[in-house]
Amino acid sequence: MAQFFQQVVSGLASGGVYGALALALVLIHRATGVINFAQGEMATFSTYIAWTLTTNHGMSYWPAFAVTLAVSFVGGVGIHQAVIRPVERGSQIRVVIVTIGLLLLLNGLMTWIWSGEVRAVQSPFPGGTFTIGGVAIAYQDIGTIAVCLAAVVVLWAFFQFTKVGLALRAAAVNPAEARLVGIRVPLMLGLGWGLAAVLGAIAGMLTAPSVFLDPNMMQSVLIYAFAAAVLGGIDSPVGAVVGGLILGVGLNLVGSYIDFVGADLRLPVALLVILIVLLVRPAGLFGKPQVKKV
């Protein structure tokens, strides 16, 4: 039983990361109406910046963390202004193709700047474990869960209690009317991209210590985040986080108790989750079903 709970806790930790990245996807989907396929590479890029700051410029972890978030925010806004805004009003396929282009571009840039070598990244949390009722829990897992939850709570408060947050929601829900009440809609959508980049950066920096940092680090995490976002409902921020946690725990348990799945077939299981949810309940657990008028 102790082993079961250990699997649950480590599942919650990876689920927190999936949830953070899924939340980034949801933010962009609400703002721009598309799925950002470059979200994973954006997160990895941010992680490389943090790595450079700590190893080459002698910064300690948390200041580097903060600087990285700031840089990522600016980067996210910049990407939106430079390449997304011009195609935003066109067909969805065009925006999707642009994000695919970004994926390639960022992935290549990372290989170009930092070379494709895998790099070990230090963890900000102590290495050991502590025991509660016979269950050994890693500090790393607890730290990851705490940071993810904190990010989600801060973001929720921002959307709920600040004027900018309100304007952001308005711009996403109804751009035309938001403009009429004096909200600068393109700026708000750019802000959404910036926040998504920040969330991605957090997810990336929390993932890096447990795997190794290389340009493709977030590729599979992105698929889990897709699955989490779809499971929770692509328009629901709460759903993204809950979906991420369910998926993290679920995949961990399936991977360790069903031999057929093991470590190799987790990605296909996530794919199966995506397909089943889309076919059975396209709105996800928390989303509102969309009614299309003809």
Partner: protein, 333 residues
């Protein structure tokens, strides 16, 4: 015969002659590179039928190529089937797989379809690794030097010509590409093609005109996958070796890049797309020797094409044609 049909025929014959004569004028190494252009062309025709003509995006065509490639490799090594004979089987197997995937996928709208197909592309290598007993796992399947692989050890004699492996491969790939091109053209100009375009332009209008959405989309997926299967089979023969990394996510993405650069919904532009996929990494080496350079160039060009040239190469061609026609009209008094 209408004028456009005649023009298409003339263009096709000219291209055919150029393709047939090309190996006589280029080095063996170039012939090999041009065979890959032919292989990509086959895959691009399939993807264009699905994405360009039916409006269903696919980021997972590399996975269908993997099915075709592995069908060929396994048939050749485990069952002693000659390489050419495996191609029709690979086409059928992949076509059926595509049709079966298309049945549920037909219910997914644009964005979700992109997502589901992307997930397939990412999951494919790990699935191949998992079923090791069947696919050879991570170490892959080697075809080089097997008696089933034509012309790999001794040159093949064909119609009085002696062809080494690269030349043989070139003619094989381009024969499949030309036949595939004609079949694609025939499909698209008839009733089925009209149904595809109707689904792309307005699903509501298509349904009102009696087109079954589910059946049409699944059919488009099946046909498109069959092309990818043929390309995958050729790819396995060309590389003489398949392993899970032969069909990475990047391959699926590059195919999409090829179709977009060529111009969605244009068969003639696809040759430009195929040339682009094959030679872009080499040109990118001039920009920088870094292994990341090709991806940067691919990505930048993809974004630029979408922003500045939505019609791709085919669109550019049409626009140039309009310009010259306008110029001619100016000269008329």
């Amino acid at each position: 015969m209408s004028r456009t049909t005649l023009r298409t025929l003339i263009v096709f014959v000219v291209v055919g002659i150029v393709v047939f004569a090309l190996p006589a004028f280029v080095t063996d190494f170039r012939a090999q590179q041009f065979s890959y252009v032919g292989i990509y062309l086959v895959a691009l025709i399939g993807l264009d039928i699905l994405t360009g003509y039916t409006g269903q995006i696919s980021l997972g065509h590399g996975a269908f190529m993997a099915i075709g490639g592995y069908t060929t490799a396994i048939l050749m090594t485990d069952h002693g089937v000659k390489d050419i004979a495996t191609i029709p089987i690979a086409i059928v197997v992949t076509g059926v797989a595509g049709y079966l995937f298309g049945l549920p996928a037909a219910r997914l709208s644009g964005l979700y379809l992109a997502l589901a197909t992307f997930a397939i592309a990412v999951a494919t290598p790990s699935v191949i690794k998992r079923f090791e007993g069947f696919t050879g796992g991570g170490s892959g399947v080697n075809l080089f030097g097997t008696p089933e692989l034509t012309a790999s050890l001794t040159p093949v004699r064909f119609a009085g010509l002696e062809l080494n492996f690269n030349n043989w491969l070139y003619y094989l790939a381009w024969s499949v590409a030309m036949v595939g091109y004609v079949i694609g053209w025939l499909i698209l100009r008839g009733r089925t093609g009209r149904a595809f375009r109707a689904v792309r332009d307005s699903e509501t209008a298509a349904v009102s005109s009696g087109v079954s959405l589910a059946r049409t989309k699944a059919l488009a997926f099946g046909i498109s996958a069959a092309y990818a299967g043929a390309a995958g089979a050729l790819f396995a023969i060309a590389t003489t070796y398949v392993n899970p990394d032969t069909f990475p996510v990047a391959l699926s993405i590059f195919l999409l890049v090829g179709v977009v650069v060529a111009g969605l919904g244009s068969l003639t532009g696809l040759i430009v797309g195929a040339v682009f996929i094959q030679f872009m990494p080499l040109w990118a080496q001039n920009v920088s020797k870094s292994p990341g350079a090709p991806a940067v160039v691919y990505g930048a060009i993809l974004i630029l094409v979408v922003l500045a040239l939505p019609g791709g190469a085919a669109g550019l061609f049409v626009r140039l044609q309009q310009l010259t026609r306008r110029g001619r009209n100016f000269q008329k008094p």
